[in-house]
Each structure stands twice: as structure tokens, then as C-alpha cells.
């Protein structure tokens, strides 16, 4: 039945009613863009913002540093220091723009790829590496950073986000008009995740309770080896309308646009206007994870096409040409990145292996006697080897 896919058999496709097939490379006319791939500033009637030079530089800096984080982690995996790494390469603008739009009181529910969002939330990158190294399931305190645990089961976190947002409503921290109080929640997910029942149920619940949640979908065109057309034949942002809330597609490689759109959506949510879906149209430049070989399923021409839309390059051009940033700024950022790289390498290699007895920690608030006995027996057994 796969052969009857509309893309391949257009005559089988309902002509009068169906929207254009998905998968074209430029996001289409609906896509919000504030900075072209050539670094030119565009304006948008609804989704726009004023950016100070300092702000653009800060966005650039975070993009550059998190790209370095990604490159270092990839290298650490190659050197056997990490078990695995999910690369963010190419998605820096989507993540940094979305993260900069947050207020401290907002809460973020990430997938497993939101390293740049974690960075902006102040999570120590070594606490991210510890997960991929196999030391723990993520070293940061979700409540210290208002940035949840990484979620590996695709889509599950979108429901947590809605529940958390419902809780915020109950707490009376939505729509008060106090900027330091009003709270919104961001649920990250991918294009592949959009197919999961959990994500649709999250849409249902968010609409039903008018919960202050912004669904932020990074459509990076691929779910491992599957192109987005396998998941949807219409732009993903359109999914929202049928659940009763607005959606918009934004150029996910344009940090100004992702910031502006997220900022507006978050503000509306904080005010009590309910959920919003943002589809950040972007591209996973790297492999799905370090075990993946994308040459098996996608062309280098496609990758080249997107390389020309690099999210950092356009900001650099814009900074140099329009906003004002001299070579020294870029040199400073590069130096900072080098330093970060050094810290990550050293820090990662220095991470001790966990004590195996930690297997038994935090299963329960009150561990049952049976489990304590299991732990004690294992401790004795383990000690018998150390003694020997």
C-alpha cells in the first residue's frame, strides 16, 4: 500500500480538497521568517520583535557555544567517552530562539535533543553528558532549572507539560497580569513524535482546559530514517486548528523568528489565552544519533541544500553587516567555545563510574523491606569480590 502514497501517485490524491504535499525544502509561503539565509532582515505583520544589538549577539553566542557543545559531545562519543549522543547540529536557532523567549518561572519539557535549551536554562552541560555517558539518567535538578528530565519515549512528555500547565492554572499563576508570576509551559517534540497518540491527546487536553502550553515541534525533516512525509502530508502546524487552537510555521533556522514567535505564543499562554503550536521548520544536519548512518537514507544534495541555510551563518552575516559586531566579538565567542570544549572534555573524562549500589537508590520514597534486603544481599555479595 505504500505505493499508493499521494506523492508518488498524484492521480490518487483528492485534488479538490487536499493541501499541497509536504516535504518541500523551503517551508512554503506560510512560514514566518525574520532573517533570510543571506542574513537580511524581513518583517512580519504578526510575529515580529525589536532586537537590540546586544540581544542578537547573545543569541549568536549561545548558538555558537551550543554548537561547540554538540561537536565536542560527538567527538567524545567517538572516543568512547559517551555511549551515545543525539546531535543538535542544525537546530541551534530553533532551540536558542525558543529558549530565550522563556521567563524563569516557565517550565520546559524536553525530548532528548534539547541540549541548547538546557544550556540557556542554566543546566551544566556535564550533567547532560553524564546521561549519554551512562552515569545516570540526567544529572540536573528539573526544579532548579524549570527544565524537565530528558524523555526518551517519544511524545510522553507533551502530556506531562499539559498537566503541569493545568497545575499552574490551578495555582493561579496564569493571567494575573504580573509578568513575574504568569507562567507558561513549553512542550518540545519532533516531527516523528507528531504521530504518537500521546501528542494528539496532549492537544485534546490542552484545548479542553485551555492550558497555558506552547507545543514546540522541531520539524527537522527526519525521524531517524523516515522523512516527514511518512508522518503527515500537510504542514504540521495545521494540526492545531482541528484541535481548536492556533498553530504557525516558523523558519526554525532563523533565531530571530523562532524567538519572536515563541515569545508571542508564551505571552498569550501566560495571559490565559491557551495553547499554541509552533512548527519550527529546520533540519537535522547530523545523524539521528552517533549510531546512525544517514547516508543510508538521504542524499548529500539534500544536506547541501540545508547547509546553505545554516542557522549560525545568517546571524553572523547579519551581525557583521547590519547590527554591528566586530571581529573581536567573534574571536571572543570562539575563545569561549574553545574553553567550553576543554572543560567538557576534561570534565567528561573525569566523571567517575557510579557505585553499583546506586542501582537501588530512588526507586521509592520508602523502599520496601524486600528491596532493601535485595540491596543488602547484593552489597554483601559485591563486597565478597572486593575482599577476594
Amino acid at each position: 500500500m505504500v505505493t499508493i502514497h499521494p506523492e508518488r501517485h498524484p492521480e490518487h490524491h483528492r485534488q479538490d480538497t487536499a493541501p499541497p504535499a509536504e516535504g518541500h525544502a523551503d517551508g512554503g509561503p506560510d512560514m514566518v521568517q525574520l532573517l533570510t539565509p543571506d542574513g537580511e532582515r524581513r518583517h512580519h505583520p504578526l510575529y515580529d520583535a525589536d532586537f537590540s544589538a546586544e540581544q542578537v549577539r547573545a543569541l549568536y553566542r549561545d548558538m555558537a557555544l551550543t554548537r561547540r557543545l554538540d561537536v565536542e559531545a560527538t567527538a567524545l562519543q567517538r572516543h568512547g567517552e559517551l555511549g551515545l549522543w543525539a546531535q543538535l547540529l542544525g537546530q541551534e536557532a530553533a532551540q536558542i530562539g525558543a529558549a530565550h523567549a522563556l521567563r524563569p518561572q516557565d517550565f520546559v519539557f524536553p525530548t532528548y535533543r534539547e541540549h541548547a535549551v538546557a544550556w540557556v536554562r542554566g543546566v551544566d552541560p556535564l550533567q547532560i553528558l553524564s546521561l549519554w555517558r551512562g552515569v545516570d539518567h540526567g544529572g540536573w535538578d528539573p526544579h532548579e532549572h524549570n527544565f524537565g528530565q530528558y524523555t526518551v519515549v517519544i511524545g510522553a512528555q507533551t502530556l506531562h507539560a499539559v498537566g503541569y500547565a493545568m497545575g499552574a492554572q490551578c495555582d493561579g499563576v496564569v493571567g494575573t497580569g504580573d509578568a513575574d508570576v504568569d507562567t507558561a509551559v513549553v512542550a518540545h517534540f519532533g516531527d516523528g513524535a507528531s504521530s504518537q497518540g500521546d501528542v494528539s491527546e496532549a492537544f485534546v487536553f490542552a484545548a479542553s482546559y485551555n492550558a497555558p502550553v506552547v507545543f514546540f515541534c522541531q520539524n527537522n525533516q527526519w525521524a531517524i530514517s523516515e522523512p516527514v512525509i511518512r508522518q503527515t502530508r500537510v504542514p504540521l502546524y495545521q494540526r492545531a486548528a482541528g484541535f481548536g487552537f492556533p498553530g504557525v510555521r516558523v523558519d526554525g533556522n532563523d533565531v530571530l523568528a523562532t524567538y519572536a514567535v515563541t515569545q508571542r505564543a508564551l505571552q498569550a499562554a501566560r495571559e490565559g489565552q491557551g495553547p499554541f503550536l509552533i512548527e519550527a521548520y529546520t533540519y537535522r544536519m547530523g545523524a539521528h544519533t552517533t549510531t546512525d548512518d544517514p547516508t543510508r537514507y538521504r542524499s548529500s544534495a539534500e544536506v547541501e541544500h540545508w547547509r546553505a541555510r545554516d542557522p549560525l551563518a545568517r546571524v553572523e552575516t547579519y551581525l557583521r553587516r547590519t547590527v554591528g559586531a566586530d571581529q573581536r566579538f567573534f574571536d571572543d565567542v570562539a575563545a569561549e567555545a574553545d574553553e567550553l570544549g576543554h572543560e567538557l572534555r576534561e570534565g567528561c573524562k573525569a566523571m567517575p563510574d557510579p557505585d553499583p549500589l546506586r542501582i537501588f537508590d530512588h526507586v521509592y520514597a520508602e523502599p520496601p523491606a524486600e528491596l532493601v534486603a535485595q540491596r543488602d544481599a547484593f552489597a554483601d555479595y559485591h563486597a565478597s569480590f572486593e575482599d577476594a
Binding site: 540526567g138 519515549v153 502530556l159 506531562h160 503541569y164 496532549a202
Partner: protein, 352 residues
Amino acid sequence: MSAGVSVVGSGHLEELDDRSPVGVSKTLTLAKALNLGLHDAMTHDPKVVVMGEDVGTLGGVFRITDGLLTDFGADRVIDTPLAEAGIVGTAVGLAMRGYRPVVEIQFDGFVYPAYDQIVCQVAKMRYRSQGRTPMPMVIRIPYGGGIGAVEHHSESPEAQFAHTPGLKVVTCSDPADGYWMVRQAIECDDPVVFLEPKRQYHSGKAEVALDAAPGPLFASRVVRPVDGAVTATVLAYGPTVRTALRAAEAASAEGHQLEVIDLRTLSPLDLEPVYASVRRSGRAIVVHEAHVNLGIGAEVAARTTEECFYSLEAPVLRVGGFDTPYPASRMEEAFLPDLDRVLDAVDRSLAF
């Protein structure tokens, strides 16, 4: 920012500040006892919210949440869209925000759409976060058969949850336990799958002392102690406790003394009282409605044999639902363990 996760509840119900005056008791059905338990828990702790399908205006299809919407409002008694993963998944988020959600799954057979959220999220959130994200949640499930219902309304899914580390699983068998166990489960900082024997919701009243919990939550209880020689130990829980007690009465007439233990907690199991009894009786029979194959009885048998190896005169025998899907209701009487099948097992045990 940790305000979002401060959790209420010490787990020690003796300390409840709103407990009824000493000596107060009510005569209640199991349904009413559970209803009162939820009511009192909500009164006690403003972070307790009740959610599920039809729990609000209708008060639940079994009326266990009857009146709560009126008393506590729509912010705390939440009729949800028809989606079990959504219910449990949003409850996870509410718990992360500092609430203590009490989720109702309408019938046993409808818990499976939420299975992923329960076993991968609810059960693992504390572990994953190294204790930083507690998951105080109660998932109430009316379970078991014998009500003449259509498919998916009579099942016993307890073993699947008990097999999952991170969850606790308990079940009540009478009104007093219904009231206190639901309150204690809500107080518990761990997620609790709370199984309610639906067949017994309205099947008789009993006195419920409201001034103090009769004992800890995660403990089994000898409900029919035998002085002197014990013929066999019968282990039951939820809907089969009554069956076991009836069997014990019948056996007594024939001169057999059966000690009956209500397991009450299925994960963790509390088997010390079982071992103590089996050391006296040398024989044990586990009775549940769930399929025998990999049911709770399997674990009880394995552990009891390990602990009481030299005391056992016969292998631990199991009486349960057959290893078939739950049948159409006009055959359920034959499917469910009854007095005769328990006595038959006693005979088989004695024949060893």
C-alpha cells in the same frame, strides 16, 4: 525553584490533623467508604485532586466520587477527555507541579491505553530524576469479575503492575480497609495502583472506625486466625478474601482449620505473616481471580517455598482464573474461583 515539588504528606496517618474524634465510626458499604475516604483526603490536603472519566457531575460510573465536585469544585474534581494515556500523563505533570492526583480508571480493562505512561513514566520518574521528582499519585482501578458485564469489565491486571518496580500495588477487601487504605495510599509519596473489588462495592455494609487507621498500608493481615493446629493457610486478596473466608467456614464444618490471610499489598508483598502461618500449617493455597499463569500466586509460591522449604508438606497450590481471556458473563461463575475450588485445592494439598 522547588516550590512546585513540595509534597504534602508524611505517610503516617496517625498524625492526620483532621481525624475524627476517638470512637467515631460509621456503617458503610465499600463504595461509600471509598467515597468518604476520598472526601476526607481532599479535605485534609488541598493538593489532592481527583480526575478521570465521568468523575465529576456523574460522580463516577460506580459513584465512588459522588458529591466531590459539589464539595471541592471543578478545579479539584476533573472530568477528563476520554483518553487514559492523557489522564495519567497529565496527572504526571500535575504531580510535578506539586499536586497529588488521584486518577480513576473506569474499568480494569481500560487501563491499558495508559500502560505506557504508568510503567515508563509514573513508575520511573523518581528513579530517573534521582529522587528529585517524586510521583505521589494514586491510580484507582475497579477490578475483578462477577458483575455480569461485557468484555473488558471484569479483569484482574494486578500482576502486570506488581512486576513493575517503582509502583506499589494494593487492594482492599472490606469497607474499613477501603476507607483507610485509600487515605493511606493518597498520603504515600510513591505511586500506588489501588485496586477496588468492584463486585463488593455495594454488597454489604460494615463498621468503619474513623478515628485511627487499623494498621499500616503495606501489610498483609490474618483475617481468620486459627488457634492450635492449622490444616492449611489460604492466601487471598480483594474479591477472593470473602471466598476464602467462606471456604474456611465450610472446611471448619468438616474439621479442617484454614487460616486465612488477606494479602492487601501486592507490591511490595508482605509475606512474613504468611511464612509464620505456613510454618504451622505446612500447606498454602493462593486464591485470586487473575490468570494463574504468572499471577501473584506464582510469586507467593516461589517465595514461600524458598522461605518455608522444610516446613512445606505440599507445594503451594494456586486457585485462580483460567489461562483464557475472561469469558462471556454467562460462563464467569465457572471461571472465577469459588468456595468449592478452594476446598478442592485443600483436598489436593492434603493428598500430597
